[in-house]
Every structure is written in structure tokens, then in C-alpha cells.
Amino acid sequence: MTEKNTVNGELLDETSLSLEEFARACAVKRQWVVERIESGMLGDGTRYASQWRFTSRDLTRARRLRQMEFDFEADPELAALVADLFEEVDRLRARLRAAGLDPR
């Protein structure tokens, strides 16, 4: 069965996600997000919860953290370290590609 619709989306970063929306998008509880922000594993270091807004980059990072913690039962700090390394690899791969070298 096939259906067709045309839909317009919102580009994240032009609009950003609230704590509630972000937790839902990552399939975690609000508290999970709060704990990781308070321990510096997520977010931009903004102190007040009412000011927390989340971007595309946060979403990719939080989903990686969640996967490491849930799939590998990793300690949150270890999951954050792995996410840091993935982000570094992403940056290096982008620079290699920009220099005309295929990182794969």
C-alpha cells in the first residue's frame, strides 16, 4: 500500500527543540537529559534549565550517547567519551573530504 503527501518540515537550528521535545526525539526521559547537561556531557553549558534549547548537533550527540548507554550498557562518562571521539572523527573526515581525500 502506498500513500503520498507533501509535507514541509522545520529546519533544526533555525528553530531549536525544547527540553520536552528533545527528550521525546531521543526516546529518553527528561531527567536523563537534565543529568547529562548538569554533568557537562550535553548542551552548551547554559546554566538555567528554562533557557535550554537543543540543536541538530545536540540531537546527533544525544542519540549516540543513548545508543552507547542502552546498547552497550556503557557508563555515561564512557558514552560521552565515545561520542567525543565520533565527533572528532566526523570533523577529521570532513576536513579530509574538503582536501579532496576520500576518508573511506
Partner: protein, 313 residues
């Protein structure tokens, strides 16, 4: 639909204890992790092992699956018998915490009670928002400049009159706005999983990536391209027509250019409130010395232009 042998998928014995199943799962999850795996079927294998783990590490679902598995083997044609799960009561009715659309038809048929809303294990008088979904799509770099419409095919669980769930193809025509960056997300409100008991549907998040092309490379909002020039264009300077993702431009090559020189076209990278830049990196290409005339030119240069590239800085 084929019967899936989840024990075979994870490479564990039918009597394996949960810690052993988790260990086998983690080993395979590492191998097929989407961020590092180079295996061509990594996404499919990851789906299989996630599915196998979801069933085999849940004692209730594992018991029901084991009873069914006594009569089937991997790959065998399979239709779930009516009330196959009679006598088993699944906590929380189905899988609220997994994305059914990311699992197989086989899994959805057996365990996809989420969203049923009626029936013996339904959610009468209970309302819940549907879960959010995630998908990754590839678009052309030109789409970031002009915007585009893309058709995205999703597998959506649907429930029939008997309450059985199967996956259906759902095509969405999505507008891709201009100015997108690698890895950025688009949120499509209400396009996630259906809600339960009249609850709102979830949202769909599309993670955008550029289709790799030999013509352009992207870093953030900046775009890079190699521009091949003749030695006389680099040495004497030239004005040449070159294609860019936003159309052809007349580009001035400064005289005395060397291979590797970067020419920046400000603001011609990915558009936005702060647009990126487009960089052309010059590559000087030598004409082949494959005719008498060409050889004479090179011989004349060697004679008349004393030049040692190893002493040039």
C-alpha cells in the same frame, strides 16, 4: 514472510543466559555500528540484531517466541497462527521503547501491539502520544542551494481488523529547504508513529546528508572544488567560465598561480543568513608531449627557461 531464527542471528545457543545474549549482541553491535562499519549490509544486520536482542533479552517475549520456534526453522515460510501468544501476557503491551518501523515485518507481526488501541491487550481508555521516528536521507549539494522536493519511503506498522501488525510503505514528499548543512535535521510534525487511543502522532526527524560527488566537497557551510587549469592559464592569468552549484561564473585566475592555490568566491558556499564560501583549488594539468610539435614546445621551454622546480620555493 520468513521465520527469523533470532538465536542464529546473534550466534547463541537456545539455552543461552541473558548475560551471554547481551555479550553476543554487543560484539555484533560494535561490528555493525552505523558510524564505523564498512560492511555493505550493516544497516540491515543492525536491524536484525536489535530485533533479536529485543526479543531474547525479554523473558516474556522470549518464552512466547521459543514456543513458536519449536515448529519453525530459519527462512521457512511463516504465518503467525491465530492466538499464537495465548497464555503469554506481555508487560506494557508491545514495545513502547523501540521503533517498530525500524524492525522487520516478522517482528511487527509477532510483537507489534503498540497502537492497537482495542482488543484484549489494547489500551482502552488510555491515551498516549506516538513515538518520534528518525530516518537518514541523502540529497544533492545543489538542493542546499535551491531547495528541492524529495520522496522519502518509510515503513510504517499498520494494524488489521484482527489486530495483527504488518509494515506498509508510506511515501512522503518532503520539501528540503535551501541552506541545509551536512548532518542537519528536518522535523516533520505529526509524521512519526500514530498515537494510542486518539493520542497525537509523533514527529519524524530526517537527518540530511549530501550524496558524495567527485565535483564538490563540503565542510560546514563552505564548499570546495578542484579546478583544472592549463600551465599558461596559471602562469599568464586567465578568465574562464566554470560551473558552480549556483550556476556558471566567470572566474579570474591570477597570473603566477601555482597548483594548490585556493581561490575564494565569498558568499557562494551554502546559502543562509551567513552564507559559506566556495573555494576553487587549482590543479595545473600538463598537456601531453605526444606529438612532434608538443615535444618541440617542451624542448624549447627546457632550453629557453632555466627552471629547477626542486629549487623553487
Amino acid at each position: 514472510m520468513e521465520f527469523k531464527d533470532y538465536y542464529q542471528v546473534l550466534g547463541v545457543d537456545k539455552t543461552a543466559a541473558i548475560p551471554d545474549i547481551k555479550k553476543a549482541y554487543r560484539k555484533l553491535a560494535r561490528r555493525y555500528h552505523p558510524d564505523i562499519s564498512k560492511e555493505p549490509d550493516a544497516a540491515l544486520r543492525m536491524q536484525e540484531i536489535n530485533e533479536a536482542k529485543a526479543v531474547l533479552t525479554d523473558p516474556e517475549k522470549r518464552a512466547a517466541y521459543d514456543q513458536l520456534g519449536e515448529r519453525y526453522h530459519a527462512g521457512q515460510e511463516f504465518h503467525p497462527p491465530p492466538d499464537w501468544d495465548a497464555g503469554f501476557e506481555f508487560s506494557g503491551s508491545g514495545f513502547e521503547d523501540v521503533d517498530l518501523g525500524e524492525f522487520s515485518d516478522f517482528f511487527a507481526n509477532l510483537f507489534g501491539h503498540t497502537g492497537r488501541g482495542t482488543g484484549p491487550r489494547g489500551h482502552q481508555g488510555y491515551q498516549m502520544r506516538g513515538g518520534d521516528r528518525h530516518a537518514r536521507i541523502f540529497v544533492d549539494l545543489e538542493d542546499a542551494y535551491q531547495g528541492a522536493t524529495r520522496v522519502v519511503t518509510l515503513h510504517v506498522p499498520q494494524t488489521d481488523a484482527q489486530g495483527r501488525v504488518s509494515l506498509h510503505e508510506h511515501e512522503l514528499k518532503v520539501h528540503i529547504p535551501k541552506g541545509i548543512k551536512e548532518g542537519q535535521h528536518i522535523r516533520l510534525a505529526g509524521q512519526g508513529h500514530p498515537g494510542v487511543g486518539g493520542g497525537e502522532p509523533g514527529d519524524l526527524y530526517l537527518e540530511l546528508h549530501f550524496t558524495p560527488t567527485p565535483d564538490y566537497r563540503v565542510e560546514g557551510k563552505d564548499v570546495f572544488a578542484t579546478l583544472r587549469v592549463a600551465p599558461w592559464e596559471a602562469a599568464l592569468g586567465a578568465a574562464i567560465d566554470v560551473p558552480t552549484p549556483s550556476g556558471q561564473v566567470h572566474l579570474k585566475i591570477p597570473k603566477g598561480s601555482q597548483g594548490g592555490r585556493k581561490l575564494r568566491l565569498k558568499g557562494r558556499g551554502i546559502p543562509g543568513s551567513a552564507p559559506g564560501d566556495l573555494y576553487f583549488i587549482l590543479e595545473v594539468v600538463l598537456p601531453p608531449a605526444n606529438t612532434d610539435k608538443a615535444r618541440q614546445f617542451y624542448e624549447a621551454m627546457a632550453r629557453d627557461m632555466p627552471f629547477n622546480p626542486r629549487q623553487t620555493r
